[in-house]
């Protein structure tokens, strides 16, 4: 009966990332969403609970206005959530996020298994999971696309560039999962309504008893722009020559 923690991040929904006419990115009207792979992490935790029993706890580090994210995560199955929040928690650096998570999880939550998404939809640094495992002193398996528990060990199939690798590790352990691992369920109406009634443990900076020095500073956010000039080229030798000429003219490649 494993006690499972799933970590999630509440991120800007990329559908709302649009450049303003000046080329800057205006996030004032952006909606937020659960980071894509974290949905898989939550789903995997819930599926393992359905199979082996135990409990599922969702944990996030976020700014204090991420309350919708807590409801969203809880509507997907976990029975309670730790909402570690402070208005200063913006642009946290992975080492900071993992340190905060390690402190709360290490001090306050009983766990056998921690599941994280492989990387977040916004920064995709892929660091929080492995750093958290390191700080807690437990084994970490990344790139997991299949997971079972047997005799107090996890057996994980990893998808790597070279192929599939099956690894086993003793619990407690941490895994970071890929989107192939499952198809996250769509929460039903009653799941969403029930989410508002589940326990949420709020922890702020003062409770953590630590200082937070902001390391990452936004110096500016600019959108990549794509200008189509609507030239068309065929596949014949002459066309390819014309294409190369056209690309050279733009300065994208030079003669060198």
């Amino acid at each position: 009966m494993p006690n499972i923690i799933c970590c999630f991040k509440w991120v800007v929904d990329e559908a709302y990332i649009k450049p303003s006419s000046s080329g800057k990115i205006d996030l004032e009207w952006a909606e937020y969403k659960l980071s894509d792979y974290d949905r898989n992490a939550i789903e995997e935790a819930v599926q393992l609970q359905e199979k082996y029993g135990g409990s599922v706890t969702a944990v996030t580090v976020a700014s204090s206005d991420a309350t919708k994210g807590i409801k969203d995560a809880l509507s997907r199955g976990p029975e309670k959530a730790y909402f570690i929040n402070d208005d200063q928690f913006e642009n946290l650096e992975p080492s900071q996020t993992s340190a905060i998570l390690a402190k709360v999880i290490g001090d306050q939550i009983d766990y056998d298994l921690i599941i994280c998404g492989e990387g977040s939809s916004d920064m995709y640094s892929q660091q929080v999971g492995p750093r958290l495992a390191e700080k807690l002193g437990i084994p970490c398996i990344a790139f997991v696309n299949q997971l079972t528990i047997e005799d107090n060990r996890i057996i994980a199939e990893r998808k790597t560039d070279d192929g599939l690798e099956v690894i086993s590790a003793p619990l407690p352990a941490l895994v970071t999962v890929l989107p192939d691992i499952n198809s996250p369920r769509v929460p039903g109406l009653k799941d969403t309504l029930a989410a508002s009634k589940k326990p949420v443990i709020e922890i702020d900076l003062e409770d953590l008893g630590s200082e937070y020095e902001r390391l990452l500073i936004d110096e500016g956010l600019r959108a990549a722009s794509m200008e189509r000039n609507c030239s068309r080229f065929g596949a014949g030798p002459e066309d390819i020559k014309a294409f190369v000429e056209a690309v050279r003219k733009t300065g994208v490649i030079d003669r060198g």
Binding site: K33, T67, K68, K71, D72, S75, V186, P187, G188, L189, K190, T192, L193, A195, S196, R228, C230
Partner: protein, 379 residues
Amino acid sequence: MDFKLTEEQELIRDNMREFARTYVDPVAVEIDENSRYPEEVIKKLADGGWLGMPFPAEYGGAGVDYLTYAIAVEELSRSCAATGFTMSVHTGLACGPIALYGSDEQKKKYLTPMAKGEHLGAFALTEPGAGTDVGAATSTAVLDGDEYVLNGVKTFTSNGPVANTYVTFAWTDKNDKRNGMSAFIVSRETPGLSVGEHFMKMGIRASQTSEIIFKDCRIPKDNLLGKVGDGMKIAMACFDHGRIGIAAQAVGIAQAALDESISYSKQRVQFGKPISKNQAIQWMIADMYTDITAGRFLYYYAAYLKDQGLPFSKEASMAKVFCAEMCSKHASKAVQIHGGYGYCKGQKVERLMRDAKITEIYEGTSEAQRMVIAGNVLR
């Protein structure tokens, strides 16, 4: 004044969007083409608790407000107007009157399985000679001992061929035009109830529509809905809240037309630039966006009034007529933006334009809505 939805409402909207993308989009083209009832999707809606949204939990519902329900209809209709309508008829016109006028026993027996989505509901009012003119109906219900004997032919009954429970209307006193009609709940398996002709429609083709024929159909006296003579009142009340659902459906169709138009006009290149760079196209898109936003707030407002327990009949009609007409107009504009491709099968806008038209007709034509509005304003 606060224009913001609650976090819960936003999540429910987002989840319905995700539901529609996951389960409805993949079948929407096929069920339209084959006029097929998407039983598997309806089952999934039932499992998700989407088929009894605004009804109390003690009768199998989810107990959310009507606004949240209408928002869900919009999101579902954005993927498939027919599926959105199946949900809307079931909830607004079939479950609605039982929730509003049913006895506790009727709610336990009929509303509960319907709100859980185990039974689908239909609303059999229209007759061959009685559309907007409800009073021209000829169906009769005669009390015989402990039973009412129903006789008559209902037509254009949405969900008719697939429903388990029907709310229907018949004259208990033909001579009393005002208070002579009564409402009844009829189970599908009742002897004497048969499903007549299925209609092949221009749009919302996956919604099943048929005649429902009552021939010496004997139903228990207890299946009278409300009191004897309440029929006309119940029918009108059903339409009032049903219209909010249709307005939401129309906004969903129009939103889909806008979604398609934005993505197509950015990709389609003519005269050396994407057509979205042309002011002619930009103005169409700007008008679409404006009307959709206006329509959405109109139906939000009608639903809000209903949720507050305030009169909302006029506002429901305003939302219905405005949303339906802007939906038809902009679905047609969306085809215009798509040019020849938009006129062909395979482009979503072709289906949207066919689906849009019905919103101006059913649950009270645009003309009937204007009668309601004018009647209120000129009073």
